[in-house]
């Protein structure tokens, strides 16, 4: 039972067939056993988790339980928590504890979840494999020699290995969806501004968005209900009426629940460069969508091919500025020995940041420099508008856009660490949603020849989360890809 989705666990908790303390303890035991292998967590606080669980059980006993009360959750270590350190996977913040909780952490705490720990990640969310962490690489639960995807690989691996039923991530160019795909679970990047960025340590402010990981679309909806909402502390947080993302999932869809839904298939997402196993799995999923009543139409996103280069101008530009605060002056790593101020900055940052972070700071500094700004940053922003126009145009003819989340399933640890461009190309299908600010979801849809999971991406127009989750939910009611577990999670009852 402890490996079940949130919806089932919640029902069992509220029916008192299971206590949150029992659930939490058993998951903590699993974490103690498996984390040394997976390296999914940077921090785990069993005492605190059990205290949360006890409070949740009391709430359940008092009849004050919500759908998430007593559900254990793991937060990506880039979301500020007062309870335990927030390292961002970096030596720079290895000993940093925030005095406050991020908005999404607060939201999930308010909903009664149990905070068990903070998950490993690419340093400052810069990466697609969770290998750049100061705390070592995260392993893919399906094959420990493979990466789980990144940057939110720790949360993805933890949920995939059934160490926790729920996790949070942040997605700047695919950092929720790509690890969800490579780890065989669901992950959602909401519309920019749906989840407050307050307490999300900024990588690229105009692209960053927090979102949930879980086994099912239904669970994603439950988590999003607690994470979304206006927050005056974030000037880019959207002030709009709250939405119940589970409502549409409860409607009786009949035999053809997706009748009336038009799925757009971008010509550009089905070309060369896609692993044949991935292509096959997506095709099979599309057949399933049609069987459920959906219509598919070919669409075109002519500027989408520019997404990766545009992204790798804008994201490093913002990062170079956002990471300036890590200067060793007020908190974070400071070199032990230095001659003067400049030397202190240089040594502290040289020691505190890893290679990929430095690479992006350098790229970002370059593209914002006098004489280069117009050619790079400004041009990239202009192309960003063109890409947004493509999507706007596409949504005139379809409701959602479907394709692979990543061109391949997981790759072996170390396979791409020496070739940043190959690594960056992993984001080819995911970055557009961030550039545009639109929501996108990844769900499992099959396995490749190595038995590694394949992800299907469902993109939607702004605020189309409910519709996208509905499409995913109907698919999951008719299939069982989301129910498949890696071998190391098959033993749990």
């Amino acid at each position: 039972m402890i490996g079940a989705p949130i919806a089932e666990l919640g029902a069992a908790l509220r029916a008192k067939r299971l206590s949150s303390v029992e659930l939490t303890q058993r998951l903590l035991d699993r974490i103690a056993r498996l984390n040394p292998v997976l390296n999914a967590f940077i921090s785990v606080d069993p005492d605190r988790a059990l205290a949360d669980a006890k409070a949740a059980d009391a709430a359940i006993a008092a009849g004050a339980a919500g759908p998430l009360t007593g559900i254990p959750v793991a937060h990506k270590d880039i979301l500020a928590t007062a309870a335990m350190r927030t390292t961002c996977g970096s030596r720079m913040l290895a000993n940093y504890t925030s005095p406050y909780d991020a908005h999404v952490v607060e939201g999930l705490a308010r909903a009664g979840t149990v905070l068990v720990g903070k998950t490993n990640m690419d340093e400052f969310a810069m990466g697609s494999s969770s290998e750049t962490s100061h705390f070592g690489p995260v392993k893919n639960p399906w094959n420990l020699k493979y990466v789980p995807g990144g940057s939110s690989g720790g949360s993805a691996a933890a949920v995939a290995a059934r160490l926790v039923p729920a996790g949070t991530g942040t997605d700047t160019g695919g950092s929720i969806r790509q690890p969800a795909a490579l780890s065989g679970i669901c992950g959602l990047k909401p519309t920019y501004g749906i989840c407050s960025r307050y307490g999300l340590v900024a990588f690229a402010s105009s692209l960053d968005q927090a979102g949930p990981f879980a086994q099912t679309a239904e669970d994603i909806a439950l988590l999003l209900n607690a994470m979304a909402g206006h927050d005056a502390r974030d000037s880019t947080s959207l002030d709009r009426p709250t939405e119940d993302y589970t409502r549409v999932l409860r409607r009786d869809g009949g035999a053809r629940p997706l009748a009336g839904v038009t799925i757009g298939l971008p010509r550009e997402y089905f070309g060369a460069g896609i692993d044949p196993d991935v292509a096959r799995a997506i095709d099979a999923a599309l057949a399933e969508f049609r069987a459920l009543g959906a219509r598919t139409v070919e669409i075109t996103l002519p500027n989408a091919r520019l997404s990766v280069p545009v992204y790798y101008v804008i994201a490093p530009a913002e990062a170079s500025s956002n990471l300036s605060r890590f200067d060793g002056v007020r908190y974070g790593h400071r070199a032990a020995k230095y001659d003067d101020l400049t030397d202190m900055y240089g040594k502290s940052r040289a020691e505190g940041f890893g290679a990929e972070v430095k690479r992006r700071i350098l790229v970002g500094t370059y593209v914002l420099s006098h004489g280069y700004y117009d050619a790079y940053y400004l041009k990239a922003q202009q192309v960003r508008h063109l890409i947004a126009d493509d999507f706007r145009h596409a949504y005139r003819t379809c409701d959602v856009i479907v394709g692979p989340t990543a061109p391949t399933a997981a790759f072996p640890i170390g396979a791409k660490t020496d070739d940043p461009v190959q690594m960056y190309l992993n984001d080819i299908f995911t970055v557009a949603a961030n550039l545009v600010g639109a929501p996108a979801l990844s769900i499992p849809c099959g396995f490749d020849r190595n038995g590694l999971p394949i992800g299907l991406q469902i993109q939607g127009d702004y605020f189309a989360e409910a519709k996208m989750l509905d499409v995913a939910h109907r698919f999951q009611q008719a299939t069982d890809w989301h129910g498949k577990r890696p071998a190391l999670a098959e033993d749990i009852d």
Binding site: Y100, A204, R233, S324, R325
Partner: protein, 481 residues
């Protein structure tokens, strides 16, 4: 060769909001270090800026007061550089599109009124402070000031002398206080200027190479620094050298400016729009609301003082140098209709001199406008002479009487009422003539000055209370002059 000086000023006015421009921390001056620095001000990981609308409102006020364009959409940008008292590693400012664009300021110069054009005014945050004393080879950082709202007001290079630059700075200083957007406290750094100075041969239209003198926090330093810099540049060029574009600092102890950094060392600030802050949009309704809350502006009030009270331009300008002074004058003038010029003379003369002597502000004047008007009324109705009035004024100032009728109280108590009884004056005059035959003889011998001496003696005999005009005419009569 004759040289022309060209000066433009960049002024940082600290806006008088209770909290910071992007956080809720207080802006009060003088708190213990780092006690007014929130998570946002310290730039902890994950915090975000939230714009204080009060700062924007003050910028709008300023824009309206100088007749500038209020940009309906302006953009906050990041100015990136490393410094220990700059917590984020960037300053949030406005770069390409500022909130206020254009506008003018009218200043009084030796050659008459002059209009100085403003380039722009933009919102930005202040940095913290580095403290180099008391830390034994280390530097202390106080972030209380970090995030304090500033309006940077940039003028065109329209000033032609240090005196004009000071006149501009003083007028601007008076204006920001007048419209209530800045307390103007220069000791606390609430109002500070950077001066861009260049020289060129008289008649030349191309601008010379400029130097920027940073952080001048008094009008005196501003004047001295510019004067030194102008001399330095002229001497340099006349000696065959060239002015290098650079940033300089003024050392008030040595009375000189010295180089801080040259243009080659200038940092690339890598400005880009701050993705944490959506563009600032200001709608007409907001502007209208601010406009309706604006007080009468100094220029308009000056014009009104000239027409309504018949005051000379100089009086009107001086009286409108601060809202408090103008209000004091208007209250005084209203209490004694028809004598506005006398009221102006007293406010600008006796009262201002007394205040200056003890370095007090008009708000703390020991003589209220009602008390002053009461005093002037006694001059007007002939109860006392202007000379006695000054004594009465000093007595009120010293607190010898209180209340609205302080002047009357003192006149009565001290018996200062003017003697206008011609019988009494005649008696005094007779006595003076009798007691001073030599002077009388001098007068009769044609020495006009002797007459004044006799008037003085008569006034003295009355202890100043005799109506001087009457003394004059009676004495003339008696001497048969």
């Amino acid at each position: 060769m004759k040289w022309e000086t060209v000066i433009g000023l960049e002024t940082h006015a600290q806006l008088s909001t209770a909290s910071k421009i992007f956080s809720g921390a207080a802006t009060a001056f003088g708190a213990a270090p780092n006690t007014q620095a929130s998570a946002v001000d310290i730039a902890l990981p994950g915090v975000l800026p939230v714009l204080n609308r009060g700062a924007v409102e003050r910028a709008i006020r300023f824009g309206l007061a100088v007749g500038a364009t209020i940009n309906r959409r302006s953009v906050f940008a990041r100015k990136n550089y490393f410094y220990p008292d700059l917590p984020k590693g960037y300053q949030i400012s406005q770069f390409e599109i500022p909130v206020v664009q254009g506008g003018t300021l009218t200043i009084a110069t030796a050659q008459g009124e002059k209009t100085v054009r403003l380039t722009r005014a933009h919102l930005e945050e202040d940095a913290g402070k580095s403290l180099h004393e008391d830390f034994h080879g280390m530097t202390g950082i106080d972030l209380n000031r970090a995030g304090t709202p500033l309006l940077e007001i940039v003028s065109e290079p329209d000033m032609r002398s240090a005196a004009e630059a000071v006149a501009y700075a003083k007028t601007l200083h008076a204006l920001v206080k007048w419209i209530g957007i800045c307390d103007g406290n220069m000791q606390e750094g609430s109002f500070r200027c950077d001066a861009n100075v260049s020289v060129r041969p008289a008649g030349e239209t191309k601008l010379g190479t400029r130097c920027e003198i940073k952080n001048l926090n008094s009008f005196r330093f501003l004047e001295q620094a510019i004067e030194f810099e102008v001399r330095r540049q002229i001497e340099l060029i006349e000696d065959g050298g060239k002015v290098v574009q650079e940033t300089r600092l003024y050392d008030p102890d040595k009375h000189q400016t010295r180089s801080m950094r040259s243009k080659e060392d200038a940092q690339d600030y890598r400005y880009f729009p701050d993705p944490d802050l959506p563009p600032l949009s200001i709608d007409d309704a907001w502007i209208d609301r601010v406009k309706s809350g604006l007080p009468e502006l100094p220029e308009a009030m000056k014009a009104r003082f000239e027409s309504q009270y018949g005051l000379p331009a100089y009086d009107a300008r001086t009286l409108t140098s601060s809202r408090e002074l103008a209000a004091y004058f208007e209250a005084t003038a209203a209490a004694i209709p028809g004598e506005a010029k006398m009221a102006a003379n007293w406010v600008l003369g006796e009262l201002s001199a007394a205040l200056n002597k003890v370095e007090r502000d008009i708000c703390d004047a020991p003589v209220s406008s009602v008390q002053l008007a009461g005093l002037l009324r006694r001059i007007q109705d002939g109860t006392i002479s202007g000379k006695i009035a000054k004594d009465v004024f000093d007595a009120i100032w010293a607190g010898e009487a209180t209340g609205d009728n302080a002047a009357d109280t003192i006149i009565a108590k001290k018996g200062l009422k003017q003697i206008s009884d011609s019988g009494a004056i005649e008696k005094i005059v007779d006595e003076v003539i009798a007691a001073n035959p030599a002077i009388v003889a001098e007068f009769r011998a044609g020495k006009e000055k002797a007459f004044n001496s006799l008037v003085g003696k008569a006034m003295a005999a009355s202890r100043g209370k005799a109506n001087p005009a009457q003394v004059n005419s009676i004495l003339k009569l008696k001497l048969g002059a």
